[in-house]
């Protein structure tokens, strides 16, 4: 087992808001190995994007980030601005949801790929240009050389996202964070972009943290999956295992709510209740109010336990493990 490229340990992100302090990410621990795709799934507002931005150091000043984020063993939380700039686009890279707003509309696409190279490598402009054209071909832009000087609006959404990927991966980073990279794309294009990401990851050994609210996307490409709810990482498992035997009540409910999971046509399962308001005092397990099997211990933060290779934070599961003979 090779050493993890990206390790998050007890990562916590708090914001000060008029009502009090909100912890948008509550002590998340997870790691991604080289060449591995870890999917992070959860509904809107569960903190997955905040987590991604925290890793890249892109959160505004008002955010309080604590815990540990280590890239190739180097602690980057609390790193100087200078060091962060050296790392970004170089050792760690990030791509965002909407390709039409990720690129500068007034610059040529090629220059935006070459720009990443020039920012971190001491090579000449012409060399960088050649390298950029190579990259553009690698991500599947037809006729890259003549399209180098075209502005972004002359490309389709899928093509633009490929360019974004080329620009992000130009310097062969160890870690790639992809925040909803296919959400803004057509379903048919989604598959293409996802397979591009997986192919690049495999060829270059990049560790990929793929964030999505779409379980289908995760199922297609991830090796490992982490499930987030209201800022907490509630379950983490290899992809097949997560879908085959989900442990956490939220994961179960999520999978049951998938239209395809339904046996009875005409009725969709819903998870009763709402995501809690993150301001103010919250119970240790934030799923408490909506959980069918909650108990008194759930006021305290669950300690993660392992079921086969699934790591889950749930008192109900923990109980079952320590008392296997007790009937549920």
């Amino acid at each position: 087992m090779n050493a993890a490229a990206l390790v998050l340990t007890d990562l916590q992100v708090d914001f000060d808001v008029p009502g009090g302090r909100v912890s948008a990410v509550d002590r998340v621990t997870l790691s991604v190995r080289p060449g591995e795709v870890v999917g992070l799934v959860g509904e809107s507002g569960c903190g997955k994007s905040t987590l991604a931005n925290a890793v890249m150091g892109l959160l505004p000043q008002q955010a309080h980030v604590s815990g540990s984020v280590a890239v190739e063993g180097e602690e980057i939380l609390g790193a100087t601005d200078h060091r962060l700039r050296e790392l970004r686009g170089n050792r760690i890279a990030m791509i965002f949801q909407d390709p039409s707003t990720s690129l500068d509309p007034t610059c040529s696409v090629g220059s935006q790929v070459a720009e990443t190279i020039l920012a971190h490598r001491d090579i000449g402009k012409r060399q960088a240009r050649e390298r950029a054209i190579e990259l553009m071909s690698e991500v599947g832009i037809p006729d890259a050389r003549s399209r180098f000087s075209d502005p972004p609006h002359r490309f389709s959404g899928g093509m633009r996202q490929r360019i974004v990927i080329a620009a992000a991966l130009a310097n062969d980073p160890t870690v790639l964070i992809a925040d909803e990279p296919t959400t803004a794309l057509d379903v048919t294009i989604q598959a293409q972009v996802l397979s591009l990401i997986t192919r690049l990851s495999k060829n270059h050994g990049t560790a990929v943290l793929l964030i999505s609210h779409d379980l289908g996307v995760i199922a297609q490409v991830a090796h490992q999956v982490g499930v987030m709810y209201a800022g907490q990482l509630v379950e983490q498992a290899p992809v097949d295992q997560l879908f085959a035997s989900p442990q956490h009540p939220y994961t179960r409910a999520l999978l049951a709510a998938l239209p395809s999971a339904h046996l009875q046509p005409g009725r969709l399962a819903v998870i009763p209740g709402q995501v809690p308001d993150l301001v103010g005092d919250l119970p240790g397990c934030r799923f408490l109010d909506r959980c069918a099997v909650s108990r008194s211990e759930c006021i305290r933060r669950p300690v993660p336990v392992d079921v086969n290779s699934t790591r889950v934070s749930c008192w109900d599961v923990a109980d079952r493990i320590s008392n296997p003979t007790v009937a549920r």
């Binding site: 700039r85 790392l87 965002f96 990720s102 690129l103 007034t106 610059c107 990443t116 920012a119 609006h153």
Partner: protein, 318 residues
């Protein structure tokens, strides 16, 4: 043919109907005067014979179409008509006056841009007190009437300190140093309000651009802050700023009319005002034509610059 070239040609062609409409309006100025413009022009000297004579001199007795035809035809030959009072051809008068107005407005715009844009960029990326200071400057610059500012400056620099002349003019070609001395206060007066607008627009445009997702992606690529602000943000913000500068030039021209009167500069604006007071309609017509044409030309130039800056505009994608 490249799309940029197509855009330039398209924009140039669009100017034609604009110039046409403008010329029609200017042409109608004399003809819309209630009552008989000729009698008004002649004032107490109007006798029946006079009136008929002058009317035929000015060509007002012919059909409107014929009049417009000779009006436009004259323009193409550089014939702007004749000064009603001095009887001299307006072409020479305009040739004397136009450079003065041009110098005043171009210098004022230049100064305003040199001050407004850098301060605007600074205000968008700067700290709290920088913002508040520029806010105050902007509000003051916009609210204070420019001719009052001019008078106050004269009070200070001329009357009290005797550093600069309160009025008068010397052409640039004759004596550059004196020319600048006479122009300093007028240019400064116009530039203050103008730079306030430019500052405000620049700051707003920069702030709006810096909030866009592609800037976040630039940070994620590890691009330096300086490069983001100047190479990317400013380039995107430049288009709306240039557009506003073009629009504001109209305000500047209006201000020039007043400032020329205030500082006794022999420009087209002051000519226009005195012509109106004298009911010297041919001069009014020529003056309005020239000033409006200046504005149209500047608008054209700024539109072309915007098209060059933002490929979406020249592709017609915006």
């Amino acid at each position: 043919m490249s799309s940029r070239l197509r855009f330039i040609i398209r924009r140039l062609l669009q100017t034609v109907p604009v110039l046409f409409a403008m010329s029609v309006f200017v042409f109608l100025i004399i003809r819309l005067v209630p009552g008989d413009p000729v009698r008004t022009m002649l004032g107490f000297r109007a006798t029946d014979t006079n009136v008929v004579q002058v009317r035929s001199q000015l060509g007002l007795d012919r059909s409107l179409i014929a009049q417009y035809g000779s009006f436009v035809g004259g323009l193409f030959h550089g014939d702007f008509g004749t000064d009603f009072i001095s009887k001299s051809p307006l072409r020479e008068l305009l040739a004397q006056r136009l450079p003065v107005t041009l110098e005043l407005t171009v210098f004022a715009l230049g100064l305003a841009v040199l001050v407004g844009i850098p301060l605007g960029i600074l205000a968008s990326t700067g700290s709290g007190w920088v913002r508040r200071a520029t806010d105050g400057f902007v509000i003051a610059g916009i609210s204070v009437p420019d001719f009052w500012l001019g008078i106050m400056l004269v009070l200070l620099f001329s009357a009290t300190w005797g550093l600069l002349p309160p009025s008068g003019f010397v052409p640039l070609t004759e004596d550059p140093q004196q020319n600048l001395r006479y122009l300093l206060l007028p240019v400064l007066t116009l530039a203050v309000a103008e730079s306030a607008y430019i500052l405000r627009t620049t700051r707003g445009a920069m702030e709006s651009v810096l909030n866009q997702p592609f800037v976040t992606f630039l940070h994620a690529k590890g691009i330096s802050h300086r490069r983001i602000v100047y190479r990317h943000a400013f380039k995107n913000a430049a288009a709306p700023v240039v557009t506003v500068i073009g629009i504001q030039f109209g305000v500047l021209l209006g201000g020039a009319i007043v400032i020329e009167t205030l500082f006794g500069l022999p420009g087209v604006g002051r000519l226009l005002v005195s012509a109106i007071n004298q009911r010297n309609y041919p001069v009014v017509q020529a003056g309005v034509l020239v000033v409006a044409a200046m504005f149209i030309v500047v608008s054209l130039i700024t539109d072309l610059i915007v098209g060059w800056l933002d490929p979406r505009v020249s592709d017609g994608a915006l």
